[in-house]
Amino acid sequence: MHSADNSQIKDIPSVISNALRKFVKANGSVVIFLILWIVASVFVRNFFSIENMLLIIKQAAIPTIACLGITVVLMTGGIDLSLGYTLGLCSISVGLFVKSFGLPIWLSIVLTLLIGIAVGLFNGVLVQYVRVPAFITTLGSGFIIFGLAQIISSGSDINRLPPAFRAIGITEFGGLNTTVVIAIVTCLVMYYVLHRSTFGRALAAFGFNNRTARMSGIKTERINVMAYVICSFLVAIAAILLTIRVNCAQPTMGGGVYTFEVITGAIIGGASLFGGVGTVIGSVFGILIVKIIENCINLLNVSYYTYQAFQGIVILLAIIFENVKNRKL
């Protein structure tokens, strides 16, 4: 009965502070982004310009696609450490298909996306049915994928890709390019999948409490495998776009550093390593935060190694912030 009483005693300031609290709690990364943006605009020379804004958006587009993938996996309570290596495998694959084998562009892309799906199935089935923790499974599969990419490429890159293929990602208009458009479309689709569909609801329920989910008739096995498939599928898209951007298909593209960057984005965006929590808006702003920091480090002429250390600090701060927020608010 006490809960009913509480609801009636509400004064206006507490309503506003409650609303603010709710917003910060749900969109912590948006708040961090705004603070960071203002601080950078004031203190970092050349940061505040339209060109620089557009540059950050362009740089964020591809990692955002991969980050939405890892967000789905994180929501199950799992993790995909093979992400960066899958990126390399898909990159070299699309290069081989489109240049070395001379396949039509559409077929090359479809085959590359299928490779992504296959990798996801492999990871998902291992995690779900062999019941090895995702951390170990994907660490192992990551090395297999990395080795595979090296073997099929014989260790060499494929340069100068066909211009018609490159046009998919680099056609410019209004300061932005098609890669950004694809990223935005991906965001919209994933927003529907995660926040408006029964799949997204079941995914969250599974991530929070898989026993309740199963007992409530959710096909948890399917959801768990699907999460890895979606992740690797999105990584394959990211791989194609990144290959176009650098005009070079490389088996070593991505790697552990890329995995780390993408997971950092998702975590800053509020995704929980324990499952259940993850949002499209959070992950988008998470990646934007990572890219703003990278951008500032560049503008300030600091070494890349400092950037990596800084990234580590940011991920720790994000986790601490998450904890404090959950306790205090």
Binding site: M1, S3, R196, S197, A202, A205, T212, A213, M215, G217
Partner: protein
């Protein structure tokens, strides 16, 4: 006259969370001014139905949770514990029903866990193993202290627990259903040890459901019921009927109102189902519009039976017929779609997604039916959720309130709302009123009666006899993994009778 060494007076405990802290604003008392004492070198038996408060009282004595009121005196001196270690250092040892040993360590390592003998960095292994075998030998056991605990039988593991407790020079040992997993020869051995300990002046608090045992080793019997102290009887005055009366003797109030009329049309039928390879087969059926009670102790196989029917557990042969069809190896989702649902006894682990809002929890099991095109329509979701909240009188701030901030009774109503939304034809309820207050209880009884009137077949598993008697049209009693009795006539529903089938 033996000396009284431990006195617990007016111990009170409100319903608490996983950390032993009282739930905010809760007035449900698990223990209500309970008195308990222990004399030197006696075996004091503590009995009561499930949920009577035995375990809670012992957890307080063992320092696992603090009391909310009352005093404890040891040798006339008032004591209070900040944790189990402190209780142990006062000479009170607790042997839990589930043994707390490290399976991957050996016997000696377990006995000296956390207080290894040695100087500074190095463990004096020789000394530790020698002392372990000495202690084991003293009790008349020949167990090599180098054996891994994993390789010991349950009885031997229990002995290690006893040795461990004794090595702290305990004067009072609490044993929570120690014979639950032992064979009859192992039980005899345990009783010998208990008598041996008694001779050394050590007192035992013994929790058990088995009456034969009590007569054999007990000195006094204390009965708890609904968190209240009912009385203490010396073993010489043991009278079966009187003890049962003390355990259950409460009046059935107007809580149970049955208006539904059962049909004779079978909707769920279980034949020759074995829940484990060694148990006897089970036959059971539920008619449309009928409330069937399934009584029995925790661990008698009730939940296993329910989960076997619901497709979330493998069973050992037998057929389950639902709505005329044989169901076999199915995923819960198929059964839910057909209208057979199971409300788990553990609402936090298997009933709710605590971190999700009320609305999402209510629609969780009906997603495919409500939104066949996978597109969640927010307006529709809120309308059906609101209907559930109103129908079941769930007290909350809004549909967006997270379930972990609700009281137990309201949480249970959310789970019930979730299942009612699936429009079930058969509802299996596993302890539907556990840990909720009286008001919520009577509301849940009303809902059960209403559903039965609408033709839903209900199988209600419960440890509370008044609930079984008050609500059921027919009662099954389970013991040792099978059905030990079926009571079809309302006149036969009698606490003493059901309890006698339960205990055997």
């Amino acid at each position: 006259m033996k000396k009284t060494i431990l006195e617990m007076r007016e111990i009170t405990k409100y319903i608490f969370d996983a950390f032993g802290h009282a739930l905010r604003g809760s007035t449900v008392r698990i223990l209500d001014s309970v008195d308990f004492d222990v004399k030197e070198a006696e075996v004091h038996v503590l009995i009561g139905e499930n949920g009577a408060g035995k375990s809670t009282l012992m957890k307080i004595l063992g320092g696992i949770i603090p009391p909310d009121g009352g005093t404890m005196k040891l040798d006339g001196k008032e004591i209070s514990f900040s944790g189990p270690r402190e209780s142990l250092h006062h000479g009170i040892g607790f042997i839990h029903q589930e043994l707390n040993l490290c399976l991957n360590l050996d016997v000696a390592q377990n006995i000296f866990l956390g207080r290894e003998i040695g100087k500074k960095l190095f463990i004096d292994k020789k000394n530790m193993y020698a002392r372990s075998s000495e202690m084991l030998a003293k009790l008349g056991f020949d167990i090599d202290p180098h054996t891994l605990v994993r390789d010991l039988s349950t009885a031997q593991q229990q002995i290690i627990e006893i040795v461990k407790v004794l090595s702290y020079d305990c004067r009072i040992i609490i044993m929570d259903e120690p014979t639950a997993s032992l064979t009859s020869t192992e039980i005899e051995k345990l009783f010998e040890i208990i008598k041996e300990l008694q001779k050394k002046g050590i007192s035992i608090i013994y929790i058990s459901h088995r009456f034969e045992e009590l007569k054999e080793i007990g000195d006094r019997i204390t009965v708890l019921r609904d968190g209240k102290y009912i009385g203490t009887v010396p073993i010489e005055e043991f009278d079966y009927d009187q003890i049962i009366n003390m355990m259950v003797g409460r009046k059935l109030g107007a809580m149970y109102q049955c208006h539904h009329v059962p049909t004779t049309e079978k909707v769920l039928e279980v034949k020759n189902l074995k829940i484990a390879s060694h148990t006897k087969p089970i036959d059971l059926y539920v008619n449309k519009g009928e409330v069937v009670g399934l009584s029995g102790l925790v661990g008698s196989g009730r939940t296993e039976l329910a989960k076997s029917i619901f497709g979330s557990r493998t069973y050992f042969g037998g057929t389950i017929r639902y709505d005329g069809q044989v169901i076999k190896k199915v995923h819960p989702s198929q059964l839910i779609a057909k209208g057979l649902v199971y409300l788990s006894e553990d609402r936090k682990l298997e009933g709710l997604v605590l971190e999700m809002p009320i609305a999402h929890n209510i629609t969780l099991a009906s997603l495919p039916r409500l939104f066949p095109k996978t597109n969640i329509h927010r307006g529709k979701e809120r309308t059906v959720a609101l209907k559930g909240v109103r129908d079941l009188n769930i007290i909350s701030n809004s549909l967006d309130q997270l379930c972990n901030t609700l009281s137990g009774g309201n949480q249970q109503k959310v789970v019930l709302a979730k299942w009612l939304l699936t429009e079930p034809k058969v509802l299996i309820l596993d302890e539907p009123t556990r840990g909720i207050d009286v008001n919520a209880k009577s509301e849940i009884y009303r809902i059960i009666d209403r559903l039965a009137s609408e033709g839903v077949g209900i199988l209600m598993i419960s440890s509370e006899l008044p609930e079984i008697i008050g609500m059921s049209d027919r009662v099954y009693v389970m013991r040792n993994g099978t059905i030990s009795a079926e009571l079809t006539e309302k006149e036969d529903f009698d606490q003493e009778k059901i309890l006698s089938y339960t205990l055997g």
